[in-house]
Symmetry: C2
Subunit: 159 residues, 2 copies
């Protein structure tokens, strides 16, 4: 189990010219509380099972446990998941030594585009591209586990 | 992911003379609804992560997905679990071609002893030893996932 340090931002501009890789992700949750979530993911044709714990006070750090599983296992586990499968395309964008994962959601979360960057330390400096919008790190509404139950299209106060 | 066919019984007599193996089990739940549960288990010094789906109407059959994990991973994941760790000793008893797993609970579930038998088909015939009591297959109160939240010692109507 590793500790995951991530910062999350809305996306306000055109990042597409900088994309070097894109993969569809379909994921669901066996359970989805902010304190502990179990995620089943298919990315391309690879399966993953991921367990995350509660985040620290500023929302940057969460425990994460991940195991690779077969696509078939992932399909079977997706059928067990809570209602609210998430579908999105994840685009990768380099920014200096870092990589932004830019998720363009569809389905019930259409309209939402979020960029995440993984850091080694919470205080690490990184490049902020022009298209990077407001930071939403720690805002539980943007957790994918929450988006599966309270999708973006149902939000009244979108930023 | 396999389909698990199990029948579960209370234990009303002395099964100890027939025991051929005993191991302590400590387990917790990342989530614990009857519809979908994620269990972290340490048995002896082996770790397991197990996901179970809802059972069928008569309670005999549930989908089950299990991965072996390290004892260290299991310890870390136990720390993420919901309150209510279960501790029990699992004794194995042969009965013809079958094996009964007899769980003697301690801690908050002290006093509860349950025997489970795994079958290939729901209708399969098996030996009923003298010490086998009332069947509780499908009674969700006896699910370990429920015992972690509503332990046996708090029950008002024990059988």
């Amino acid at each position: 189990m590793a500790t995951e340090i991530e910062r999350k931002f809305l996306v306000r501009g055109d990042f597409f010219p900088e994309v070097y890789d894109s993969k569809r992700i379909v994921q669901g949750y066996i359970c989805s509380s902010p304190e502990r979530s179990v995620r089943v993911r298919i990315r391309g044709n690879e399966g993953y099972l991921t367990i995350k714990g509660a985040s620290n006070v500023d929302g940057t750090t969460r425990y994460e446990f991940e195991k690779k599983i077969t696509e078939e296992e992932a399909c079977q586990l997706l059928a067990l998941c809570e209602p609210g499968t998430i579908s999105k395309v994840r685009h990768l964008v380099k920014a200096g030594d870092h990589i932004f994962e830019v998720d363009v959601f569809d389905g019930e979360n259409q309209g939402l585009v979020v960029a995440e960057i993984e850091l080694k330390e919470a205080s690490e400096v990184f490049i902020h591209p022009d298209w990077l919008g407001e930071e939403v790190t720690g805002d539980v509404r943007y957790y994918n586990s929450m988006l599966s139950r309270h999708p973006y299209r149902t939000w009244e106060n979108k930023k």
